[in-house]
Symmetry: C2
Subunit: 384 residues, 2 copies
């Protein structure tokens, strides 16, 4: 059947970086693009109106979480995930593979699938490639992901290889199970940090008729250098593949640049909203933690260069007060800012790729974000 | 000095109910009017933009809380409360009297003022009439309240009388201490549920040059009948007084009607937002608790007659899910709805007083809200 998504791209003067456009059943996504994460059918603390105001073009929701609560059949009966959460733009659903990895201590993997205990009530759960596709079809996302087995990239290569082979078999089963003509299905490359395994995985996944190609298993414990090397290997191997490329789970300002230069088009991460809820704002002056006492008397906006409602209407002093008082508004104003910052950064990257100013932008952002903070920004056990 | 507020009103055909207009330094308030409570310089979970969308014309902030955190001097240095919280409409500040009552177990009242322990860190705090005025002048609200001593209305009359006399003395001291020409000062009538004491308090407070008259000490433990009777007595005694009348701490749908009929112009209460955060929505079909399992599959909006963002964009099923998942968006969407409902109810009351349909409106709302729920809606210890 014809693909429900269409991707076109043109090269830039910067490495393998490209500018593109991904047309989906619910709208067009300009690439490179970042997807905020709405784990439980809401990007934490933000409404669909906030997301639109921030410039969000596509979001990610979690298959595993939604299948447990409120249940994918329920969402299907209510008209699908878009209507359920009041978001009429594109949605990508993950396949649950990352959660199975996160909850590995609760489960057991075999060649057919994964058995594990619900993080909500301990009830036994089973995910297989067919089940992951079935759930995502019920949710009705624009883009579904193949069910993969993610492992710690720093495990012995033999163990990484077993999970990778399983991922390849599961990829074929996902394609066979997938029936929705209005939903794209993306494959996932695994293989840890070994160049040979990564090349083998690209060959296996890229050979299959997926609508897009994702790179999984990075940003999960390996070093920055290992991640950059794995990206390099994958980018080279994918060079002639015209499909959209999605680097899963990456979302810190510094990491975008390396990935974009390796031809990555899509990103997702909980980072912008998660760190926001702890008081950390991403600004044109780098990271600012609103819990810091020095902001209590600061009348300036969080980021004077930002156009978001938070920066237009409120001071650092007000945010510092709201965080100290544990007021709900703190989480919303900070999340709105960080999502806006991230969207604006992606827009600036696209603009810079277009007008030749990429080097200047990279230098400015890396000066603020290239040094520290990324390791402590790692996702915790549940929720991507 | 001339009053910084101007109140005009005209009678209606309903009891002592009237339609009015209170002009303040930050805008005009149509009366009868309800003020949502922004205890810590934020109406919990809502932004200033949300409040405007809900139709809010004036809000209340708490002197006691803000003096402790972030501190009224700090707010003054940052340009005053309006700028601090990003709300450019009228603000009324309470005087701290209610919090002193709530925190009575932490403090000691004498004729000069009140000594008590901070609910934040236990540090010793002192409030006097002069201090309450000083804090409110620093905050820069449009309307400041005199410092009063509130007591349980069901105490022996002799004890209620002592607190009332003290309130009268403190009222004079507040007037003497007050200096801001751009800030109104309202007096507070006390006297519990005894008709004689209430009449005595009206005589004492109404004789002073306050810009408005508040009725305190109700909705704090007395029965509905006792409250109605006290209101009746006060309304009769205030009959020829042209000033705006504010019934403090009242905000359930059923209570508005009795009070409006006794000539009340202003209300405040934490109820709409507090019950919202527990899942209780006020709708044209009465109270609906979104935590109820029957809503999990309900595709209808919370209130099909409501114009708020929540009801325009989201289903009961989505709210039921958000509350179960303890998502931050639940508190915002429910608070936005309840504040909108309350504002719309006040608007409908004003409209009905104007067009003669008040009886029909009263009957419809009392059928949904007149029976139960008000006692469990009582404010808890801290925060009005």
């Amino acid at each position: 059947m014809p693909s429900p998504v269409a991707f076109t791209s043109r090269p830039s003067a910067v490495g393998r970086a490209r500018l593109g456009s991904l047309t989906t059943p619910h709208g067009v996504i300009e690439t490179p693009q970042f997807m905020p994460v709405g784990t439980q059918a809401t990007v934490k603390a933000l409404s669909p109106g906030d997301l639109r105001a921030a410039g969000v073009q596509v979001l990610l929701a979690n298959t595993y979480h939604l299948s447990l609560r409120p249940g994918h059949e329920r969402i299907a009966c209510l008209g699908g995930l878009h209507r359920f959460m009041g978001w009429d733009g594109p949605i990508l659903t993950d396949s649950g593979g990352f959660q199975v990895f996160s909850l590995a201590h609760l489960g057991k993997v075999d060649d057919d699938g994964v058995t594990f205990a619900s993080h909500l009530d301990g009830s036994p759960q089973r995910l297989t490639p067919e089940r992951a596709v079935e759930i995502q079809e019920a949710l009705g996302s624009d883009i579904a992901m193949a069910f993969d087995q993610l492992v710690d990239a720093t495990l012995p290569p033999a163990e990484v290889a077993v999970a990778m082979q399983r991922t390849h078999h599961w990829a074929e089963r996902c394609l066979a199970a997938h029936t929705r003509a209005d939903q794209a299905l993306f494959g996932i490359i695994q293989g840890g940090v070994e160049a040979d395994l990564r090349r083998e995985s690209v060959a296996a996944i890229a050979a299959l008729p997926f609508d897009g190609i994702a790179i999984g298993g990075l940003s999960v414990g390996e070093s920055k250098a290992q991640m950059a090397h794995a990206l390099e290997v994958v980018a080279e191997a994918l060079e002639d593949d015209p499909r959209v490329r999605y680097l899963m789970g990456v979302g810190s300002p510094a990491d975008f640049f390396t990935a974009v230069e390796h031809g990555i088009d899509l990103f997702d991460c909980v980072l912008p909203t998660r760190v926001a809820r702890t008081g950390q704002l991403w600004t044109s002056r780098g990271r600012l933690n609103m819990r810091n006492a020095r902001f209590l008397d600061d009348p300036d906006p969080p980021d004077s260069e930002c156009r978001c409602e938070t920066c237009r209407n409120h001071s650092r002093a007000y945010l510092a007060h709201l965080f100290r008082a544990e007021e709900l508004l703190a989480y919303r104003l900070s999340s709105l800012h960080n999502v806006t910052y991230t969207q604006d950064l992606m827009r600036r990257i696209r603009q810079a790729l277009d007008d030749g100013s990429y080097g200047t932008l990279r230098e400015a952002v890396m000066a603020e974000y290239g040094v520290s903070g990324t390791r402590s920004d790692k996702p915790p056990v549940t929720g991507r």
